[in-house]
Each structure stands twice: as structure tokens, then as C-alpha cells.
């Protein structure tokens, strides 16, 4: 699993976001076991406490669940992950609009710009 981490932001929400993204994208089946806290921490070089906190947060949101003694699993309903994901998308889009405004484009101009945008 590759992680893209911005060190100037807290790590925990970034781990949550990226796990949600993968769940929402269907990279894991419901009830599939994911790596353990230690495995994630060692592979990515994260603090194990941070990884633990991230997984617990996702458990609170219903994206993951833990089984005592056997590890972490993907939840039944990926709607939860999709909800988290749509929150991220909304935030990123808002950030984008704000950044474009600084560059002198209002919302209408940005929308026009996006519509005409070719990759």
C-alpha cells in the first residue's frame, strides 16, 4: 500500500482519508482483513500509535471494524466510506475554488474554466 503523506499536516487524518479512498474505490471487499497496525506502521514508517488512532477513528465512522485478537476488517457497508470520501471531495473542491479566487477567478469563471478544461 502506498501512502502519500504531507508532513506539514497531521498524519492521522491523512491515513484515514487514504484508507477510506481505497475502501470507497472497492479495493477491499466487505469483511476483508486489512494489514495490522504494526504492519502498516512498519511498511510506511508511521508511528504505531498514530495508525491505531486512525483505525479507531474509522471504526467510529463504521468504515472498519476490529475483532479482538484477530485484527481489522473492512465494514459491510461501503456507503460509510463513500460518505467520508464525498466529504474529502467537497473540502478539496472548496479549497480549489478558494485558491482560484486568489488568482482572480470568481466561482462562475472557475466553473466555466473547468467545463472547457481538456487534459
Amino acid at each position: 500500500m502506498d501512502w502519500i503523506i504531507d508532513k506539514s499536516r497531521p498524519i492521522c487524518p491523512q491515513i484515514c482519508e487514504q484508507l477510506c479512498l481505497r475502501v470507497a474505490a472497492g479495493q477491499f471487499a466487505p469483511h476483508e482483513k486489512i494489514l495490522s497496525v504494526r504492519e502498516i506502521a512498519v511498511a510506511a514508517g508511521f508511528n504505531p500509535n498514530t495508525v491505531q488512532r486512525s483505525l479507531e477513528e474509522l471504526e467510529g465512522k463504521g468504515v472498519l471494524y476490529s475483532v479482538r485478537g484477530s485484527g481489522w476488517f473492512v465494514g459491510e457497508d461501503i456507503a460509510q466510506a463513500k460518505e467520508v470520501l464525498s466529504g474529502i471531495l467537497a473540502k478539496k473542491t472548496a479549497d480549489y475554488f478558494a485558491a482560484m479566487q486568489i488568482l482572480g477567478m470568481d466561482a462562475a469563471a472557475v466553473k466555466e474554466y473547468v467545463k472547457e478544461w481538456k487534459e
Binding site: K7, P10, I11, R38, A44, G45, N47
Partner: protein
Amino acid sequence: MSEIVRCNDLYKSYGNITALNNVNFTLESGKIVGLLGPNGSGKTTLIKLLNGLLTPSKGEILVDGKKIGVETKRLVAYLPDNSYLNSWMTVKQIVEYFADFYEDFRPEVAYEMLALLDIAPKRRLKTLSKGNKEKVCLILVMSRNAKLYVLDEPIAGVDPAARDYVISTIINNYNPEATVVISTHLIADIEQILDEVIFLKNGSLVLHKTVDQIREEHEKSVDELFREVFKW
């Protein structure tokens, strides 16, 4: 969560040179703590005080609520900034030496880690490369089942791949009941594994925060903040 380290008005001087000036902080168990500061800021002095290799000029330092002594040395696993092992000894002899010395030493853990590195137990220490020698020292320290691990510059002398090895060894052996204190000036390499950091500057504590606090409040990485605090 219990308190593992406490410094009260800790002061240390060497003659008329002040190495630590009224340092106050506490550390909880279960944390990975970065002890950060430029050369000569007092990091090694603080570490030696934790180990009882030095005694405070004023103030006090407690480990697990106890004054530094035999009892606390039982709890602290220390990696010094230079090697102190006899280079004529074989790796196996050193492992046995440690097992003899420390009740909490787990030889099977040490041998397992040595095997992963392809270091044969019969090798003499002096025949190992500098990087491998340092790895052996780290393995010996992390093979103890201590309450407090104190690592003085564990990544300073090794190449980037070996640095990754050191970091993953620390995480792999991390025990949620123990605290690991890592002193370094190579912050970018290590900041992702830290829970909190202590900045020392000219013997004074200038900052003690969790890394997420730093990222939230300053919108900077620990490395960036360090460069700002210690700009000259």
C-alpha cells in the same frame, strides 16, 4: 497511561559551562519521543543524566517515579552515541554477555534480528562494517524488554537504507507500554514515527509538543519548524 520520566528544574553544568538550564518536562509511557536540538544543545547530557552516567548539578530527574540508580537502570535500555563493545568479541559472545547482564534481555529476539541481516553469530565485531556494527548495537538495545529506551543518535552514522532499517526496527519492537526517546538532528527522516518532540536550545527546553499539535498549529512539518526555531 503512567508517567515514565520527570525532570524538575534540572540543571547541569561542567565547571562554568551550563549544559542544561532549568529543564522541566514529563514523559508518559507508550510514546515515541524525539529529543531534538543542534549540536551542543544538551541532548547527550540529558540522556546521560537519564542513565545515571552523570548526576544533576541541581534539580532532579526521575524514571518511573524513582531517583536514578540500580532500580531505574533495570528499566532503561540505552544506546550510546559511540560503540562501547569489545571489538574482539564475537556477536554470539556479546549476546550472551547481554543476556547475563540484563534480566529482561531476550536472546531469541536478538538472534532473529541478526539472522534477518545475515550477520553470523560467530563473526567478530571488528570484522563487521561500521553500519553493521551500529545495527548490532541497536539490536542489542531493542532486544531488551525495557520500560524506557534511550537512543542517542541512532541514525547519524548510517546510510539512508540503513536508516530505514533502524526506523523499522524501532517500530517493530515498539511495545505500547514502553517509551522510546530518540535524540537526533536528522528530523525529516524520523518525524513520521514520533508522537511528540522536545526541542533543546543552548541547554534550555524551548518546545515540548505532540507532532500533530505542531502540524496543526504551525501548519509545518517538524523539520520546517526546527529550521525556523534554530535559524542562525
